[in-house]
């Protein structure tokens, strides 16, 4: 299975206040899908991503898709198929935009 790696040219940062807000919201059971918690920046392109996106992004360290899903499954209270579909869609978007690379 392909190893997923962050493109080293991408600059990125977690936003600590937003992250804390998202964490509080999550614990309260709020919908935090729209809360941006990290920002990725590459040349002219900028992407702001939510808590799940941020966790996926941080796991793009050479693991494969199964490894990422397994790790997140332990953190998030969500069905595995739903999680897998979300992770896959997000990674496809990142790949298309050049934020991650695939390696054999």
């Amino acid at each position: 299975m392909l190893k997923i790696q962050r493109n080293p040219n991408v600059m990125w940062r977690e936003e600590s206040d937003a992250l804390a807000d998202a964490q509080v919201g999550l614990d309260r059971g709020d919908d935090i899908e729209e809360v941006g918690t990290a920002v990725l920046f590459s040349g002219g392109a900028m992407l702001s991503i939510n808590l799940l996106g941020t966790e996926i992004w941080k796991l793009c360290d050479g693991r494969n898709m199964d490894g990422i899903v397994k790790e997140l499954f332990e953190q998030f209270d969500v069905q595995e198929e739903v999680l897998r579909a979300d992770v896959q869609a997000f990674l496809e978007d990142l790949l298309k935009k050049g934020f991650i690379t695939h390696e054999e």
Binding site: R13, A18, G43, G44, M46, L47, F90
Partner: protein
């Protein structure tokens, strides 16, 4: 998973580390600015402060940054803290050994200012015979050591009709990018505006041809930083902030540590040696106004306002005194629709 976000700190600092220069360019915005410079130890602690605040990259400029006595030490220190370090230079001082030294100091990208593909035009504009040849040589030395190169060209009357030639020139010199900077009307740019700036109609013609080159040339990134290209239906709305990036992604720091929203807006909102960067970023009323511009005049009825936000804030402020006024370069008329490419 894409969301709106209010950044807690700038992504990039444009740091005009000095204002001294070995050239005498007619469009310079900084040569007549303050010549006070931060002491070495203060500069180091300011770099540390910037890194701690969460800034991701510093682009050194000036003046000519290579004339600063500690640039290399400062850059090494910044890159050692994990900051991405780049610079804009006129290239005069970059020979092969200097390029290797810059690489060792951690520079990942260097922009060389070149105003024309024609050596004699560039040299006379910059007041420095032989400067074109040295700028071209610098590009070669920089890419030879593996630093990304770009060419920075401020568009004005001497080069507005030369888009094709400039792009071919950049390709011939294997630059990764050519940046067509809009003419800002600050500093000497303002004093020499009548002689150098284009009319709105001429800006339209220029941007049409620059956008066509961007579309056509796949071997180079043709970069345009002007929000008014929204009027040609060209802004990639999904990936960048709307309007000017100044005060939304970046800030400017002057040689004496003063913080301004961008290099072309002479409004001091703090000083890096004495103020907290995140606090300035969060609480500055000037930044707040820049981030929440209100359409006035023809912008009120413009279908592109959402993307353009009235164009370049610095230019509106410099020429009209009000940052909310329509960008004086805008060729749109009341209620004008965009034209697509």
């Amino acid at each position: 998973m894409k969301n709106e976000i209010m950044l807690e700190a700038p992504i990039t600092i444009n740091w005009a580390i000095n204002n001294s220069c070995n050239f005498a360019c007619r469009h310079c915005y900084s040569r007549n600015d303050t010549h006070d410079e931060l002491a070495r130890d203060v500069l180091f602690s300011c770099i540390e402060k910037v890194a701690k605040a969460g800034v991701l990259s510093i682009n050194f400029g000036g003046g000519e940054p290579l004339l600063h006595p500690y640039l290399l030490d400062i850059a090494s220190f910044a890159s050692g803290l994990g900051l991405r370090v780049s610079m804009n230079s006129n290239g005069w001082l970059i020979d092969a050994p200097m390029a290797a030294t810059l690489k060792a100091a951690g520079f990942t990208k260097i922009g060389i200012s070149i105003d024309s593909h024609l050596p004699e035009t560039h040299d006379s504009f910059r007041g420095m015979p032989g400067s074109h040849a040295r700028a071209v040589a610098a590009l070669g030395h920089i890419s030879a050591v593996g630093i990304a190169t770009s060419i920075s060209t401020v568009i004005c009357r001497i080069n507005n009709a030369s888009v094709k030639d400039l792009v071919s020139f950049a390709l011939d010199n294997r630059a990764g990018q050519i940046n067509f900077h809009n003419f800002k009307c600050s500093g000497l740019g303002l004093s020499n505006k009548d002689e150098l700036d284009l009319s709105p109609e001429e800006w339209k013609v220029f941007y049409r041809s620059a956008l066509a080159a961007k579309e056509r040339e796949k071997g180079i990134d043709v970069s345009l930083d002007d929000p008014i290209i929204a009027l040609l239906g060209a802004r990639d709305t999904s990936s960048m902030v709307k309007g000017s990036v100044c005060g939304k992604l970046s800030l400017n720091i002057k040689s004496n540590g003063d913080i301004t929203p961008c290099g072309f807006i002479p409004v001091v909102i703090g000083n890096i040696s004495t103020d907290d960067l995140r606090q300035v970023w969060r609480e500055s009323t000037v930044l707040d106004r820049m981030r929440n511009k209100k359409p006035t005049g023809k912008c009120s009825g413009c279908s592109k306002y959402e993307d353009c936000l009235g164009g370049c804030t610095a230019r509106a402020l410099a020429l009209t005194g009000d940052m909310n006024n329509p960008d004086p370069h805008c060729w749109g008329t009341e209620g004008s629709e965009s034209e697509s490419q």
